[in-house]
Point group: C4
Chain length 267, copies 4
Amino acid sequence: MREALKSKLYEIIFEAETPEGKAYDVFLIISIIISSLLIMLESVVSIQMTYGTLLFRLEWFFVILFTLEYFLRLYVVKRRRHYAVSFFGFVDLLSILPAYASIFLPTARFLMLIRVFRLLRLFRIFKMVRYVEESGTLIRALRASRPKITVFLLTIVFIVVLAGALMYIVEGPQYGFDNIPESMYWAIVTVTTVGYGDISPQTPIGKLISSLLMVIAYGIIAVPTGIITSELSAAEKKSVKLATCPHCFSEDHAVDAVYCNKCGGKL
Amino acid sequence: MREALKSKLYEIIFEAETPEGKAYDVFLIISIIISSLLIMLESVVSIQMTYGTLLFRLEWFFVILFTLEYFLRLYVVKRRRHYAVSFFGFVDLLSILPAYASIFLPTARFLMLIRVFRLLRLFRIFKMVRYVEESGTLIRALRASRPKITVFLLTIVFIVVLAGALMYIVEGPQYGFDNIPESMYWAIVTVTTVGYGDISPQTPIGKLISSLLMVIAYGIIAVPTGIITSELSAAEKKSVKLATCPHCFSEDHAVDAVYCNKCGGKL
Amino acid sequence: MREALKSKLYEIIFEAETPEGKAYDVFLIISIIISSLLIMLESVVSIQMTYGTLLFRLEWFFVILFTLEYFLRLYVVKRRRHYAVSFFGFVDLLSILPAYASIFLPTARFLMLIRVFRLLRLFRIFKMVRYVEESGTLIRALRASRPKITVFLLTIVFIVVLAGALMYIVEGPQYGFDNIPESMYWAIVTVTTVGYGDISPQTPIGKLISSLLMVIAYGIIAVPTGIITSELSAAEKKSVKLATCPHCFSEDHAVDAVYCNKCGGKL
Amino acid sequence: MREALKSKLYEIIFEAETPEGKAYDVFLIISIIISSLLIMLESVVSIQMTYGTLLFRLEWFFVILFTLEYFLRLYVVKRRRHYAVSFFGFVDLLSILPAYASIFLPTARFLMLIRVFRLLRLFRIFKMVRYVEESGTLIRALRASRPKITVFLLTIVFIVVLAGALMYIVEGPQYGFDNIPESMYWAIVTVTTVGYGDISPQTPIGKLISSLLMVIAYGIIAVPTGIITSELSAAEKKSVKLATCPHCFSEDHAVDAVYCNKCGGKL
């Protein structure tokens, strides 16, 4: 009896196959979005002043709701430890922990925004398998080009360290380049073309070096794009289903192949 | 008789096949451009001071002209409701409504700039079918990669929410990160590499987090480019119509091929 | 006799085949670079104060030199009018005219920097035919995607006009959005991700609209890259030399073709 | 005996095949990272005030260590001159020289950060041959598109010089465009979409020119990306080794093909 209830609850809470399971997930996602917006609004001083008490109560309502849900999840799941250390288990826990930490350290409660990750369950409700597959394609494309990306990031590190040191020597603290870490922060802001302008070169030599750095960065910004584009194109080609040999059942024959390239039989 | 006039007017106003129809469209487009420039100029204080009355009169001249034209369009069109709820019907209406709203709320009249959308009729005059087709290719390319784009936008949302919350905690209101929505605005300004510099990190830890965010954004900016490029390349390949050989069933023959390049049979 | 001299001079001045012609071009290019640097330096107040007279004399030395050269070119060339209205003819003239205009309007002389275009002759000296070809590839790639680029630019115009009008209404002159042209300038600075920060949204609604604009721009920036990349890839494929049929001499057969796709003969 | 020791030391210091050689390299890399961080920290005033003496001693400890190591390398290597003028020989020397120069010119010591280049030895320890190959692919891709890149850079130079001169005339020193080199610096900051905002157009005409420049830059930024992407795609295709059929001479057979997919013969 109790096992049946647990199994039923498991179906509702963890799965989205049954109407109840789906309804539960929709309800959960709406709760997550509302509670996240509440946390954001709470940080706005003028709203906090007027609706502070209301927001505080609503926030704790959701915290208690999510806490109860977390324990319910732990209760109904079969492999408790497995859930607890899984990605979603961690996210579920980290979505409520900051609330309790905020009793001692008030600002900590904003870390509850980590609960936006719970929205990843969205994919399950809408059966967005294709979306998950696509993100798989993206991740595979990125993984395939890991060596290129490593070389690229190392190049960025070299450029940032050297440009940082050089600009610190050339411009120095009197022009805002207070120290090398600060100079390196400036170099990153420049190389990524963000360009806040909180620190900017003032001396002619500094401006010359910066100009060179920007033109180099202009070329470098093309590299990750080139990597990802060529990997994505390659991944797309692979995803095109190719003929299967009727003799040896080997796959991946070229579109214009006449004979199987594994057994030599006619396709 | 009246029907003949309506039909004639329809041809002039709605089509661009006859010389009169073409002349009407050219006149309309010039009117739209002039009236749009007038609205822009009217917002400039110094011009408003000197030429205010003239601009006011010219503006209302165009508003009345476009209003009359709107009713004329409604009069001559056969499927009145169909036009009224179509894209162009809406744009035509929204191009004049703000003028009347401005009687009560003066600044509303600048919304009349929505009339620039009427310029889309340009494509009809110059028979830029190819251009419309091309924009179709762009839109199809974007639609085909909707799952990838959704995954990408969701990633941006996650990064922006988390970076926003983190920076609000680390930097706080004393350094311009007034509240979480403000922090999220900063995160968007940073991730998109716009970098106004109206808000920028001041603490060492904030600068470190920002640096990481920028390098991550540097890689992420490559994703939409990669998606669109690979879709455009694929779309271009598909748009080339390929023949199949009726003898050996080989595919991918060039558009101008007469004989199969695999078996030599006539296509 | 005079004709022989003219012909010889033509060879030296206009061509780079003979050693004298090459030497002349090298001398010319060095003169152009030096005189351009002189003009740049002249605009620096501190240098102007100290070396003003020297710079003034050197500048006029080059102006007179280039003027004499321009008349010499006109003298030796056969089709005088043809040269005078050619690209290089115009550039050669525009490189000296501002000097004479500067007698009446001093700042006009900085327009002489238009002479950097004369550096395009560089390609001739170093016989950088391949470079010219490559720039041809770039230009052809751009021309091939003109319809896409037109659609793209029109999209930018629509976004900029609407975002400009909207932000002017939302933010208004009290926050730096002085008028619609100014607002449109801000929209361009934002959409292109330049982000000076001289004007930036101050109201919550303005920041929300800006955030949306930036995310949209983030996607739009991918479009020209996608267009150019796919055109360049296509252009590169075409440049691969393909088999010629020995029977009908048609070209462009696929790499793996066995029979000619025009006459059916064996390749 | 002495030769055996030299040979043994050579193996340890220059190679990473033996356990000792590997251990040595790991130790070296950790030393480089620590000493680099020390130099960075030393530039921070507050840290310098508190831990100045400690940092000074640690820094000189590493300088002496690296100096001894440099002489040891010179001692054990067979082709002394060859090492001294090699890339790594130069980097090893430049990693210590600034320390001695700093006795006369204190800020010079920050140039020691050039030692980050010694980290390139990382690739040797982890036998990241694939990474080196990949960076080779990147470099080859860049080299292959040198003509395109030259044309592109020359275009940038032309745009920057002309935009710089034009904006200096239009805006002038009263709006921060102090001189032409300064204006050119602004043009580079704008074209690369960095946009610090330290200098920004103030006059309506200046803003119009800037807007045009930004839209042009928006298109130009796509060019290097297009170049690198198409080269990378091409490089990837070439790197796949393809077999030719000995019977029918068809090419482009898959890497794992056993039979020709055109004539069915054994490869």
